[in-house]
């Protein structure tokens, strides 16, 4: 096959693959199902939804960007967001609104509704477990998006 034909088939694959990536972000496993990997997709969906549910049930922290630790706290928010809209729903449920960062000026001892909710969950005895599940579920789904790309672009059997 000539390089031109390869290029063309790659460009034909891109829209479908991107659609599958978006679907996989919205609902873990759905991207794999769309690309014909039904069993694999269902298994991933079970694992990720299970891990995320366990995390929420154990007071997992929904990270908020903190100006005092911008780099690390941003990475934490990204890990959370990896699970898709479920993170938004969880934030609405926990914080009462779609919040991703602590308000400006909130320092160590200062209080704010969101920072208090955040600290309360952190103080929970179960939070250390819940946070591991929640963040891992998000990171695993981000890894799955790369897997969808590889499958969609025929780089993986």
């Amino acid at each position: 096959m000539s390089p031109e034909l390869d290029q063309r088939s790659d460009s034909q694959r891109i829209p479908k693959t991107l659609l599958a990536i978006v679907a996989g972000w919205i609902l873990p496993g759905l991207g794999h199902v769309m690309l014909g990997r039904v069993r694999r997709g269902l298994l991933f969906a079970g694992l990720l939804v299970g891990a995320y549910g366990l995390g929420l049930a154990h007071d997992g922290r929904l990270a908020l960007r903190d100006e005092r630790q911008p780099f690390l706290s941003t990475l934490q928010v990204i890990a959370n967001a990896g699970i898709g809209p479920a993170d938004m729903l969880a934030r609405l449920f926990v914080y009462g609104e779609l919040v991703y960062s602590l308000p400006r000026g909130i320092q160590g001892g200062a209080k704010n509704e969101h920072s208090e909710t955040f600290r309360e969950r952190t103080r929970s005895a179960l939070s250390i477990y819940g946070t591991a599940y929640v963040w891992t579920a998000g990171l695993m789904n981000l890894l799955l998006l790369f897997d969808i790309w590889d499958i969609g672009m025929a780089r993986k059997p």
């Binding site: 298994l43 694992l47 695993m140 799955l144």
Partner: protein
């Protein structure tokens, strides 16, 4: 569930299955990799805990 050990084992099960299915294509090598990863995670954590035991809190 408040047991640290049980949470660690359950967490290792989830991560092991995920990685094994993600990086291996046939069932046999998935099972092998999954069990290896699970044993490495749980065994490694227990070994580390044992080594740290003499240190004060």
């Amino acid at each position: 569930m408040r047991s640290h050990l049980l949470h660690m084992m359950l967490y290792s099960v989830i991560v092991s299955i995920f990685l094994a299915v993600l990086v291996r294509q046939d069932t046999r090598s998935r099972i092998r990799l999954g069990l290896t990863l699970w044993a490495a995670m749980v065994g490694g954590a227990l070994a580390l805990a044992y080594l740290m035991y003499p240190f004060p809190n």
